[in-house]
Symmetry: C2
Subunit: 231 residues, 2 copies
DNA sequence: AAAAAAATAACGAACGTTCGTTTTTATATT
DNA sequence: AATATAAAAACGAACGTTCGTTATTTTTTT
């Protein structure tokens, strides 16, 4: 049950090609590209290049000519994989959301104690964002491109994660394991600390802090509050 | 010495007009608008509208026709206040950076105890970001528009704030007031929690959490770590 | 040779920007 | 005080360029 990053990384087999394959299989009827291997290869390239340019200069600032040049596909070829720039955004956004949500849901393990549950949740989030940093950063920074209604859905996803922690803490309070008046604020703070890891990658990278070290820190930081008068 | 938001708000007299006035006076030689009152009025409108559109849809997504329409100034008139869209960005970015830095530097008070100093720093940051939320959000989300070199300067500003807290904590460790192995990580976490306040305004607003409540929470949250084995 | 995929070329709309003109405001003259 | 003149500010149509997108042609694969 003891989770570390190496183990998570090994079990986490989702490559960009896997993600592209799943998308192709689900949507092959509406796609003009017939051959699976070609579709997957190019989809993976397109997504990777888009994430890379967007995270550097912004999705709006990326022209399709940029994408063409940096992906090695012609303008015409690109349009075999999406019908508009807006759709390209939606594809990446939706794939990212779904993938992340699925991995999180599947990995929220049933631990023995609530303390373990809390630690486990924090680690899973951090480890996943370590492996899918591009996606997390993109989803966070490019929400502006969504319509008003789509944004609301995106906000609910934010609250969803927060709620997972809130529920653990609430239950802990009932069972008198945790002690705090601010269960929701603490959940919110946890979320902020988890996000900092992928929003400020450059900082932690330059300081040579590993994801495991950071996870330990966050856990300690949070537990110092929840177990304040316990120890 | 006891600081609360109401007091800070009253003492903080900087309006958008004040900021525009200072910019005008500094740059009047290079400006085609001669009359101070006109320049200030329109500069304030331009800045406010740009911040508003940018924070909603993104600076890149804002066309100058949008800005013209929503500010009430014609396309031609706009170009009397800046020489290019890029310059408009730089003007707002630089004014924002300078203003915020100045206010912070001026308000880092010399408190009696280190604990007070820490609390004071947290409050000042939160109160200021409460009053200048638009600017903070803009500066955070639109860094992409800067050149590589300008970005580096921007990152150093991020580290500057962090360092203020790091130094307080370091000193506290020396004097055996605080206790932690992770002074820098805690500073980094403080920064993340302060940023969450203006990055997730919608969330805290909808939960009706006031800036004072949040400040109290952050202080409590941090002190629980620094004073762990003290109480 | 037929089908699929990629590359090329072209289109109209929208962009940032400029500029000749008009409107408004301030100054000078009667 | 009223009028004439000059300066300042605002206007919006038009320019060249770049954008997303589509139609056509070429290349590759089966």
């Amino acid at each position: 049950m003891k989770l570390n990053f190496e183990k998570f990384k090994k079990d986490f087999s989702l490559s960009l090609e896997d993600i592209s394959r799943e998308y192709f299989i689900r949507n092959k009827d509406n796609m003009s590209i017939k051959k699976e291997s070609t579709a997957i290869k190019n989809l993976a390239t397109i997504i990777q290049t888009t994430l890379s340019i967007s995270n550097d200069r912004g999705f709006q600032a990326m022209s399709l000519r940029d994408l063409s040049k940096e992906s090695g596909l012609s303008l015409g070829a690109l349009y075999s994989y999406f019908s508009s720039k807006e759709e390209l955004f939606r594809i990446i956004h939706n794939i990212g959301m779904d993938t992340i949500t699925n991995v999180l849901v599947q990995n929220i393990a049933h631990c023995n104690t609530l303390e373990e549950k809390l630690r486990h949740g924090i680690k899973i989030h951090l480890y996943l964002s370590e492996l899918m940093g591009d996606w997390f950063y993109f989803l966070y920074m490019e929400t502006k491109n969504l319509s008003k209604e789509e944004r609301k859905l995106s906000l609910q996803a934010e609250l969803y994660t927060e709620n997972i922690f809130a529920e653990i803490i609430q239950e802990g309070i009932k069972k008198k394991i945790f002690q705090t008046k601010n269960a929701l604020l603490i959940s919110s703070a946890i979320k902020a600390l988890l996000q900092d890891w992928y929003l400020k990658r450059w900082k932690y990278l330059s300081r040579k802090i590993t994801v495991e070290e950071y996870a330990e820190f966050v856990i300690e930081f949070v537990e110092a509050n929840l177990l304040k008068n316990k120890k």
